[in-house]
Subunit: 394 residues, 3 copies
Amino acid sequence: MVNSINIIKKFDLSGYGHDFLRTWDKSVDHLNATLATAQTLRDWHAKGISPNVFASGLAVSIFRDKSTRTKYSYSAATNLLGLEIEDLDEKKSQIAHGETVMETVNMLSFLTRVIGIRDDIFLGVGHKYMKDVAHAAEWGFKNGVLDQRPSVINLQCDEDHPTQSLSDLLHLANYFGGLDKLRGKNLTMSWAYSPSYGKPLSVPQGIIALLPRFGVNVTLAYPKGYSLIPEIESYAKRETKKANASFRIMDNMQEAFVGADIVYPKSWASYAVMEQRTKLLKDNDEKGLAALEKTALVQNAKHKNWTCSEKIMKQTKSGKALYMHCLPADISGVSCKEGEVEESVFEAYKKQTYTQAGYKPYIIAAMILLTQFGEQTPKILRSINQRKKSILDF
Amino acid sequence: MVNSINIIKKFDLSGYGHDFLRTWDKSVDHLNATLATAQTLRDWHAKGISPNVFASGLAVSIFRDKSTRTKYSYSAATNLLGLEIEDLDEKKSQIAHGETVMETVNMLSFLTRVIGIRDDIFLGVGHKYMKDVAHAAEWGFKNGVLDQRPSVINLQCDEDHPTQSLSDLLHLANYFGGLDKLRGKNLTMSWAYSPSYGKPLSVPQGIIALLPRFGVNVTLAYPKGYSLIPEIESYAKRETKKANASFRIMDNMQEAFVGADIVYPKSWASYAVMEQRTKLLKDNDEKGLAALEKTALVQNAKHKNWTCSEKIMKQTKSGKALYMHCLPADISGVSCKEGEVEESVFEAYKKQTYTQAGYKPYIIAAMILLTQFGEQTPKILRSINQRKKSILDF
Amino acid sequence: MVNSINIIKKFDLSGYGHDFLRTWDKSVDHLNATLATAQTLRDWHAKGISPNVFASGLAVSIFRDKSTRTKYSYSAATNLLGLEIEDLDEKKSQIAHGETVMETVNMLSFLTRVIGIRDDIFLGVGHKYMKDVAHAAEWGFKNGVLDQRPSVINLQCDEDHPTQSLSDLLHLANYFGGLDKLRGKNLTMSWAYSPSYGKPLSVPQGIIALLPRFGVNVTLAYPKGYSLIPEIESYAKRETKKANASFRIMDNMQEAFVGADIVYPKSWASYAVMEQRTKLLKDNDEKGLAALEKTALVQNAKHKNWTCSEKIMKQTKSGKALYMHCLPADISGVSCKEGEVEESVFEAYKKQTYTQAGYKPYIIAAMILLTQFGEQTPKILRSINQRKKSILDF
């Protein structure tokens, strides 16, 4: 298992850094340590051991897109460690046109340990914004404006969704009995039909960029025109080679499911649509956006057969591949007329997808500990384990 | 008095359950234990003893209607016990049409101890929704998705408002010198005129369903056409008989006040209006709603003489009945031209109505402890009392 | 330095009171104690010592105007001491027309330690409202409705902005090497051009009312027509005399900068415009407001030369005056075309203005401690220092 504190000690934590923006900024050792720390926190919670290490401190949240699961997970993670959420509502604040990121970040960081950000609507914006926030936090700390360097955590950007992909990976490790058991497994990340458009690319990008590094063979499937950011597809291919795994792109969902150990059918907008949408959103072009939505939905509707049915599930390895989803899924006959997955398939794996989602608070908490304490983290975990502070105090 | 830990031990806590939805789902012992626990917490607060038992954990709040008092009370109660509020803003979240309650509840419960819900706008909806939430929480816990079973607490539904009615009851117990002193007292729950319509039925329903079980004689008074949910009126009558108390319905406020020890004059919509309103709200029929409001207000205005005046207060027992209100009251000449109560009456009892409201945080905290710890609660209270942790720590 | 606990003991804390509404309600000893307590908390934070003294309790926030910095500072301060924010959203609550301040305040105070309020839009309203809130809290405490008296803290009203002016003063004390070093220093509080109107008067008013009491010579500069509330200008003059300092009003920014040790160039609306605006806002006169904005902006634009340029900075003492701003500043070429300050000046002092802002959480925390514990505060600080509870707990 991945959850022993002694295991965490083995990983090289140098260079972990003060932020967690993308999995591909981290070494495999960094990722292993993140998973092991998350699993430790998960096990402790089940046992009632509290990892509360901050006597006070704020966790700033900046959500530029709607969120239920990740927002909850961020609240749960920060609360677990002793921090309190301070939400930046950009509409209610004085953040006028032109106030610099440098200033906002410093103003919100005097007693702050972590800044969690979701910014996934505009291509080319989210990751850049997070880098700017991290730079501002670094400047404030180096110049003595801030007593401590708040960590910047990516809660989904245009490029990656690391709290999702690492939760997914930890779920797989637990499901198959260990991270090492994933080597050689076949995962199919497939586009699926949804009667909505404009869904971020970061979930599939996060999966194809992360899983090959742990030896998983990845099949990426999408209809012609639904490609991801080209640089990330290329990165995934390169990492696959390094790890002696395989990577392929297919344009047929049914074929892509054949022999899969794991399937991850999920809708996303095409890179081209996202590029147009970004431009239209920046221009506040409502007519253009409406027209684009219409075209994109018509385009999507050509691929209604890209749905995770009982029938194609039978083509997977022994007909028993693990079905994954980041939730909420568009379930045919439940949340929409026709969608990403048939109700019977979703119901059969409901316990699994819910469990998959449940790792996210611990992944976020692990990122906070490692970005705040770096190489000291194993020592701190040991000390938490020894004090055995209970989640219930009576 | 009701506040001794030794007294709590005497009550049969088996079957208390993991949720608190309606007082009539609980035995008299359950209710007695809730009151005694609340009073204990109230006394401890005055003495500066902290009952903080959760080192961390979230308290999810779902408010589908406006709230100041109950929202504050829920925040205060959860904070007192060591939990942090996580508000589900259904507008800001991804909760699309069709996302199941099962999924939302599990996603919001990984590190959650309690889910507080206000859902009182639609007849036939609120209580049902809370049952669905409780069912989903139970499913998640039994299937290993959740480490703990979060309690579901009703912060006002279409049927009952138990945190209100139990606060009211505890206030009466303290005012008259003990729960046993309430046996044989006469309480008049009366409709009163207000220049607004569509007020929930749950406060009067909660009062008439709860108080007879403690031996209070209840007079329910309303103008023709303002009846409550028939099943709840019937339940109140049955419970009255069991408790050897009396229950009557009158259509004259002045007569209903004669000889009362306690009066609770408060406006509500008629059951018939609420049924129509529920239908129109579901249909999003704005014109229909405007028309209904107009008719209902004209109807209300026929009963402007249903107001709690100094004059009719003189007809109560020795002219000194205790005036109660869940607040905010529509005070003639203060918050409206003509309303539920004359300013002089309200002012004379201001200290009492404010005190009445002050029990709510402790009632909610008691419900959380009892739903989380069940038969262990007396032991835990004893242990809190022994550790004598101070609310101030220096 | 101002930060020794032994120093705090020397100040006469009698009469500090349960609220902090305006600096001119406090004695110089009260202010000195506030500064010394804030500096102590600031130093402790840098060292990792936690002043968490409340095991639980709420900090109600009422923001009637937008806020980022002060809202964050209030959250950070209350979290540092162990309290949790409960935000009163007057739109989401049931606070109908006519609900009394008396009632709302009592309903929100049962387990509350502090009520922080920003109410700076209407002249003649904000301070009055805060006094009403304090009166209601006092009534509730004296009548046994509340177990403790919550402190009311002014987070900016129409008259004063004490958390700002005291942060500014503490910044100056640290910058110049001690409060005593400020005696005889020349500070120029100057109006500056901004392409917006309706900015509150409370920052300049707070500065001119506070700084003379510490021996600072104040020059207040504004174009004809931009005077502050007359009573506050008069107060400042009187206090200056008592402190053997000088006070003057000028209508030329350049001349006002000559020889200054400290400059504070900042835009504000004129008293006359604010009076008209208050009337129009109360009448909901949108047309009138639009017309007033137009006139006021034209009026402002006549004074575009009132900007803090590199050139006029050269006229200050040795060309090296400290530039101050409460932030956000309107920076020419950054946040607007032409504004209060040139980019090069702002950038040169960025570290200083950010540091200036960083005192606010500690000033607020000091106000909470002193209003809650009064003359006991030095003893409590000593006890915190002795227990040496760490901000990190492992």
